[in-house]
């Protein structure tokens, strides 16, 4: 009885290791610092802007509350945070992002801060069609000990739908989308909404984790 149980265990583990070797598993993200920190509240700092669009920061900043709050975090009011820096003589993102974590913690009382960089934002006009791209990277830093909890980046482009569609229906859908998009004055802001969702909404395998206010908290 004892020997056959052992043999069964050997056979089962051999089968599992063969099956495991066939599946390609991406390297899991190291969430150890994030899970140890478990921040409840986040302060989103004004983003660094590497794009030529003056509205890029306002556009991206105004789109982050939704994914972060719905993920279960308390997100400090973005306009008030920006105003607080302004009233203390800090107007540009480089200076703001250089403020010591202890100082941020003292003023904002947030557990962690989100440092964002807008890599690209805007519409480039090609010969026949135009492409709007918003590309943002971010770091989440614990304000209690300065540790990096998470980093990620995301990009969205108005060209995505176009390349996936085929045939008559595809071309017509594309024409409709572009026609509607033309009537929306602010393409960048539309795409920024997609980018911020991709960047900040919890997602496997390497996205943000759910926060304490979410029913999914602790399940990831």
């Amino acid at each position: 009885m004892h020997i056959s149980g052992f043999l069964r265990a050997v056979v089962v583990s051999a089968l599992l290791s063969i099956l495991g070797a066939c599946a390609t598993v991406p390297t899991p993200y190291d969430y150890s610092a994030f899970k140890q920190s478990r921040p409840k509240s986040l302060v989103v700092l004004p983003a660094l802007n590497h794009s030529p669009d003056v509205n890029a920061v306002a556009s991206v900043m105004s789109r982050v509350s939704y994914p972060l709050a719905e993920a279960g975090y308390y997100v400090l009011p973005v306009a008030l945070v920006t105003e607080t820096f302004r009233q203390n003589g800090l107007d540009n993102a480089e200076d703001i992002q250089a403020v010591a974590p202890e100082k941020l913690r003292e003023i904002f009382g947030a557990d962690a801060a989100l440092y964002m960089e807008i890599q690209s934002y805007g519409t480039s006009y090609l010969v026949v069609i135009s492409d709007t791209v918003v590309d943002v990277s971010a770091r989440l830093v614990d304000l209690r000990d300065g540790k990096l909890l998470w980093q990620g980046s995301a990009k969205a482009s108005s060209a995505e739908n176009r390349s996936n569609q085929a045939g008559l229906a595809g071309m017509l859908l594309q024409a409709v989308v572009e026609q509607i998009a033309d009537t929306v004055a602010d393409q960048g802001h539309v795409i920024a909404g997609v980018t911020s969702q991709r960047l900040l909404a919890p997602r496997s395998p390497d996205g943000m984790l759910y926060g304490p206010r979410s029913p999914n908290y602790g399940l990831d």
Binding site: M61, A69, Y74, P77, T84, I107, L172, L173
Partner: protein, 114 residues
């Protein structure tokens, strides 16, 4: 021509049906993010307060809570309009809904009069 129009309508229907399977949100968002965008661009108007107040009623009607920062943002607009008591009330309501906001709400209340 008719085939073209029908195809467009069908494509539209498909995209709308795709949206129907999204899970419900925890909060009532209304025009909040749009308001933040306008404010940060410097394009805010005096009617923004009306829109935010109206959405509070809509959220109540739907039985959904307001998102983090919503009341504080309304408080900011009240403060900028000189309605200091209204501002303080909104910041207190923000603190009551979200105790995580206490430190920052205290900071604003302490420093606003300077």
């Amino acid at each position: 021509m008719l085939v073209k129009q029908l195809t467009v309508i069908l494509a539209f229907a498909a995209s709308v049906l795709g949206c129907a399977s999204k899970p419900p949100t925890m909060y009532y968002w209304g025009g909040y993010q749009g308001q933040v965008y306008e404010y940060l661009k410097g394009d805010g108007t005096s009617h923004d307060v009306d829109a935010l107040e109206a959405d509070i009623e809509k959220a109540r009607a739907e039985g959904k809570p307001l998102p983090p920062g919503y009341r504080a943002h309304l408080g900011l607009l009240y403060g900028n309009a000189g309605r200091v008591d209204d501002m303080k009330q909104q910041l207190e309501l923000e603190r009551a809904s979200f105790p995580e906001s206490a430190t920052f709400m205290d900071f604003i209340l302490t420093n606003f009069n300077k």
